[in-house]
Symmetry: C2
Subunit: 327 residues, 2 copies
């Protein structure tokens, strides 16, 4: 029985995963603020899940924890999880040693990529490549290639949010102009819309439907940004499917239909783009999907396995892969 | 002894590769026009190389042939090699059966990626990921990841030339606006410069140095296009190194310094981009490099190996990899 956590800025999603990678239990609760409260949120969820299954904590064989922050591959330490009030947190010490269960941490987008891939069942059905494109406050993607998480040479694979797709586009918080994230990041849209509403992107879509020109420009920009990210991902890495998730996808088909229109406009202009059938290769993660928590559980399972000796000391890539995803 | 060919629009580069992947002989000659002449060019080069080494044709164990066209993975058939006047050509029949040596074909950019990777010796030194970015008439990249050629789910990995990086940019031959290729493809620049000169890109650089505003705009666009391709490749796929090759790189440092300036401008604007150290990760293939012919020879060597049974019929990816690169 493997535990998986998706620790988000507002809530934490926890799952127990069985031998066939199926979810046997799931609980969600608000996330506490700051490292001690984050640890308490996770620990209490472990107890709650153990109780609901009528088992002991020690019967869990591994814990995987996805968090919005930087995680060194194969480690259990999260850094710069700004949304959680966590500067640095060693979850191996705080959770693993306390509960006597091995722990692995992972960046939440990468965990969601692994989980979306498992849910998609692509390993069984088609070519085993997928990207998960997270449309949240920021924009980032996670890649699964050859059935494994692709981290890249320096761990920055999937940072498509900061690719500029318009030299005259809006200024991005990163300092560049026209970044994909400046067009379609929830944070960037909220800043540019600049109204005190609970769900700025939803408000933009409502105002655009009512004919507000500024809202229409933001909505068009969002579609352009997401479509650009999809084009970058497929024309560069050529994954079979791009799965969209994250807060902005709560708009569901209202958002997706704009993106599909933008992709269709590109296909109408270019026979080459048309041949790629991009619109057919895009999917939305269902609302409330447990992808990130499931992915975290699958990644955490690697903590169980004994670590094999390195074939070559310089070959960081292979050891990363071994560590992150038992597929 | 493995043979490798890079069949280009003007000349064909042929190498013989020894057991340690070292080049033991090399010959270049003009390429004939049309399928029968292309076959004759290759066949005569085989004889010339055999004679120069004092061996029989039959002592060559495999032939790999890189060509600008579409090649089905693991096959010896090239389609749409427009620059060579070849619509479709089965090199297995035309060359392999005639000489009694197994043949594999490969797209020339992918062959060059494999060869550049082998020349770079990255498998021994650092993370084993590299992109080869071909700056020729068109723009395309080949990826080596985990020591293997990465083709993608549908064989279009590396088609970065047709990613738009400016919605108001120049019209591309593909139909979109602002494609990377529309900015920095040798063909697009020649069309927009529209002067009857032998080397349009060189002419543009000379005219730009003399202060011609149209030439300066084209030169700036070229730097923007190449830098955009590098940013797309690294921020999406995160390869360690991007190696530039192709006709446009004949300009050497005159071209590269403009690209490095453009990358530096991005890094100055964005601390995140700066942290990626993109300028340090770009290299030029030396003029006259045998990368494509060497890569073709390495790919061709896979034709020697007995084909193992498919683990799963749907798993095209794995069989592709097995077929293309014995690393």
């Amino acid at each position: 029985m493997r535990l998986g956590f998706d620790v988000g800025g507002t809530k934490t999603d926890a799952v127990v995963v069985g031998a066939g990678d199926e979810i046997v239990a799931r609980v969600r609760r608000p996330t506490g603020w700051g490292a001690p409260e984050v640890v308490r949120t996770i620990t209490e969820l472990v107890d709650e899940l153990a109780a609901s299954l009528g088992i002991q904590r020690s019967q869990f064989t591994s814990i995987g924890i996805g968090m919005p922050g930087q995680v060194a591959p194969g480690s259990a330490t999260v850094a710069h999880a700004v949304n959680l009030g966590v500067d640095e947190l060693d979850l191996g010490e705080a959770i693993g040693m306390a509960l006597g269960v091995p722990v692995r941490a992972e960046n939440d987008v990468k965990a969601a990529a692994v989980g979306a891939y498992a849910l998609h069942g692509m390993g069984r059905a088609r070519a085993d490549t997928m990207a998960y494109l997270n449309l949240g406050t920021g924009i980032a993607a996670g890649f699964v290639k050859g059935g494994r998480l692709w981290r890249g040479a320096r761990g920055t694979a999937g940072e498509v949010g900061h690719i500029s797709v318009d030299p005259n586009g809006p200024l991005c918080r990163c300092g560049q102009r026209g970044c994909i994230e400046a067009f379609c990041g929830g944070g960037a849209i909220a800043e540019r819309w600049n109204r005190a509403v609970a769900l700025p992107v939803l408000d933009v879509f409502d105002a655009a439907d009512a004919g507000d020109p500024a809202a229409i420009a933001l909505r068009d920009g969002l579609a352009y940004g997401v479509a650009s990210a999809i084009r970058v991902i497929v024309l560069s890495g050529d994954v079979e499917t791009v799965v969209l998730g994250g807060g902005v996808t709560a708009l569901g088909d209202r958002m997706l239909s704009r993106v599909v229109d933008e992709l269709a406009a590109g296909a109408a202009a270019s026979p080459f783009l048309k041949s790629l059938r991009l619109a057919e290769r895009v999917e939305l993660l269902p609302p409330g999907s447990p992808a990130a928590a499931l992915g975290a559980a699958l990644i955490g399972a690697a903590a169980e396995a004994p670590v094999a000796p390195e074939p070559r000391s310089s070959d960081r890539q292979r050891s990363d892969r071994k560590a992150v995803f038992h597929g």
